[in-house]
Symmetry: C2
Subunit: 460 residues, 2 copies
């Protein structure tokens, strides 16, 4: 009956749960720089584009079919769809859609995709409560701060162990954000964080299946419900995050507590958010970027004799597939990435479609790429030279790919990415209006107009 | 970017997910002994009594208030209440109620409380689909087998680390049971287990808060939704349980794989299920049992001069509170336990009410208990002698307390426990009918009659 545990425990952890709850409940509205506030709008915009883009995918379809068994009330919008469901289910489905293309945002320090859990919960709840756009942006900044700070403390051990860190910290971000939107006081916010702390979601073995995008969706739903339960008096431990048998020590053997609290309210983790320009693994991005730059300089595919590509050995190790058979394999082919960059100047979900991957001109162009390993080149760089049929050589060296923290995507590039994903679902005109609504979020009286633009007018 | 993981992984785990899915999908109806089938009825009966008993508690109330924000469809019954909610929310709330008094069943090998997640999901789903009572009992046996077998493999390391094992295996049991009830084939059952595997719920830091009973409720909801998603084509890894970055290796460093699969279909873990006779920590049970036996032998409280109690040191270490101030403290007082056993012959939730704990005669009786430590007595035993005012001595030695595997509660005792919990909510007559419906479950055409009896006729 009695048994001494073998598992080490830190009995002196600082009061993380209370500190974060105080911060979330009390930090002033827009209590940060304009740059941080603009980054929040960019994060929301990118998330919305991803969610609209994948809304009709089999993954969203299957999840929605299960939700419809529950005969949900028509409370909230599903981006890119005409159906309406209850707020918890809307958080789930929008969260799933936003991660289905693996094209959403990345907090590079932890590889958390922070918007999925937090924005998905917030949009649904804001529609229900009539919250202002300002309140939503405030909650987004604070929620993302919570999940990424907890992630900073546990990364990398927690991730290496097997957790999909987006879902296993995202429920805290969603709970914090929803608590803020509901204007819960600090003690109730602590309870919301506490209830969420019992629900980390997602293991990495699921990568490559529909359950991967379930992770941010499930985290969004769990966080939203945790906040609603706390609002109605449900209790949890006020040390649920940090106690010896609390969440963090249970799911990670590395817990660097100061990472959670240092510069709280001064440094905002959303500042370190990045947006993928290309719908594939980040290691190929510099090569695609270089080829797109060649195209912009007038190097057309038909002029090309050979593409000489010099990259770090890791690039070929991870993405060295020479003859990809379909879109999924092409996401692991730097050769296809180069061909797409040169042919289209971009590599969104469309450029990884099976039909494109197997098109004769693409196959031929891929075969013209000669890759060599050069470990003096950084993993995040690429050195590409186009050798033209007339003998000319055109070289582009990319030190930091577009989309990295050093070379962030511009607002215009984010808009183009949005259109690339979402136009096929909502049409270009509606997408332009939706983009404008996202930029104007901080001034919006409520979310109704944005949600109406984001929904399909009728079955698509 | 590249990083070798420091976390050890077993790349040679057997195909646990597939093996369990095959078993759940294909094992014949009632493919076990009559004893196992009867134990399933006892498990369901005990679970239903617990759920009815706590249905009006603040814990269930707060959770339901949050659920009602979603405007749920009136699909399924909440035991002990008149409201109806959607099936996922019914699984949640009934699961919460059934664990609120900490009075439910215990699989002693793992200290999993197996019925909460599994039965809560099954009753809701069976109401919706019109499944037979036989199908529900089959699914209950198989679902509990899945969660307890996975628990056997991970226990005790997984529990010691901080997981509340009831919620961190229960979602698998609920998913398996619901997959069976939905008659999913083996591949879809594997997907249901896989989706559930990303959702282990509950850390032990929550003990003493409302989030403890949330764990079986949340697991019930997660498992039910996982089965519905799999039914509609949602996918997960077919090695989600056992892969190096799958659930079990992520949440436990001990994984004794053969514990999952040995004697599968021959030995059923529900055979090892037990039912608490008293609403407090199991270490006090032998002392309460002994005092209740004294009472049955005619030892009335007013005849008692002194109670001499000899127990293992652990009993006083854990439950040595001499003057408990309220019901919660009384659950950690072997002195109050003895007084309750002698005064009432039982120690249900009522006997731990604040008013009872503070009643003058109870305070006086507690003070007559003289406890001494004797480590030659087993932790699961108690040696109690009543010294009467006329000088007589009456001794009872309890080797195994009632409710243990060695001395299981009789069916009549389970019924009495049910009445003790549920009569205040539904009335004695209705409870008698509900008990009969539970015993007759294996023959019931569907769950409608049982569910109707379990609900409150009108706001109570």
């Amino acid at each position: 009956m009695a048994r001494n545990t073998q598992v080490a425990a830190d009995h002196h952890a600082p009061p993380i749960t209370q500190t974060l709850a105080d911060f979330v409940a009390k930090h002033p509205s827009r209590g940060w720089s304009d740059a941080v506030d603009h980054e929040a709008h960019r994060t929301f915009l990118n998330w919305a584009g991803c969610a609209v883009g994948a809304a009709q995918h089999d993954t969203a379809q299957a999840a929605l079919a299960a939700v419809q068994v529950l005969q949900p009330a028509a409370q909230a919008t599903l981006l890119g769809r005409h159906e309406r469901v209850d707020v918890a289910s809307a958080a789930l489905i929008n969260g799933i859609s936003s991660h289905t293309f693996d094209f959403d945002d990345t907090h590079l320090k932890t590889i958390i995709h922070p918007a999925g859990p937090v924005a998905s919960a917030l949009l649904a709840l804001a529609e229900l409560t009539g919250a202002s756009g300002r309140a939503l942006i405030d909650a987004l900044v604070l929620g993302i701060d919570v999940s990424c700070r907890v992630g900073n403390a546990m990364y990398p051990e927690h991730y290496d162990r097997g957790w999909h860190i987006t879902g296993s910290t995202g429920m805290l971000g969603a709970a914090a954000a929803c608590a803020r939107l509901l204007q819960l006081d600090a003690p109730r916010t602590a309870m919301a964080l506490g209830i969420a702390a019992s629900q980390p979601i997602g293991v990495r073995e699921q990568f490559g299946t529909m359950t991967k995008p379930f992770h941010p969706g499930g985290a969004a739903r769990a966080g939203l419900m945790a906040a609603l339960m706390a609002q109605h008096g449900y209790t949890a431990s006020s040390r649920a995050l940090e106690a010896p048998r609390g969440m963090m020590q249970t799911i990670s053997t590395k817990n660097d507590w100061p990472q959670v609290t240092s510069e709280l309210g001064q440094r905002f983790e959303i500042s370190f958010n990045t947006y993928k320009p290309f719908a594939c693994g980040i290691v190929i991005h510099p090569s695609i970027d270089a080829c797109a730059q060649l195209r912009a300089q007038g190097v057309a595919p038909q002029l090309v004799e050979r593409i000489e590509l010099k990259v770090h050995s890791l690039v070929l190790e991870l993405t060295g597939k020479k003859e990809p058979a379909d879109g999924l394999q092409a996401k692991f082919s730097v050769y296809h990435g180069c061909a797409a960059g040169l042919s289209f100047g971009r590599a969104g979900e469309d450029e990884f479609a099976d039909a494109i991957v197997n098109r004769a001109d693409m196959v031929a162009l891929r075969r013209k790429v000669v890759a060599t390993v050069d470990d003096s080149i950084d993993e995040a760089s690429a050195d590409v030279t186009a050798v033209l049929t007339d003998g000319r050589r055109v070289r582009v060296f990319v030190e930091h790919a577009i989309g990295s923290l050093a070379r962030p995507m511009s607002d215009a590039q984010l808009e183009a990415k949005f259109h690339g994903m979402a136009d096929p679902v909502l049409g270009a005109e509606r997408c332009s209006a939706l983009i404008q609504a996202c930029w104007g979020l901080g001034q919006a009286a409520d979310l109704r107009a944005l949600a109406a633009l984001g929904a399909q007018a009728s079955p698509g």
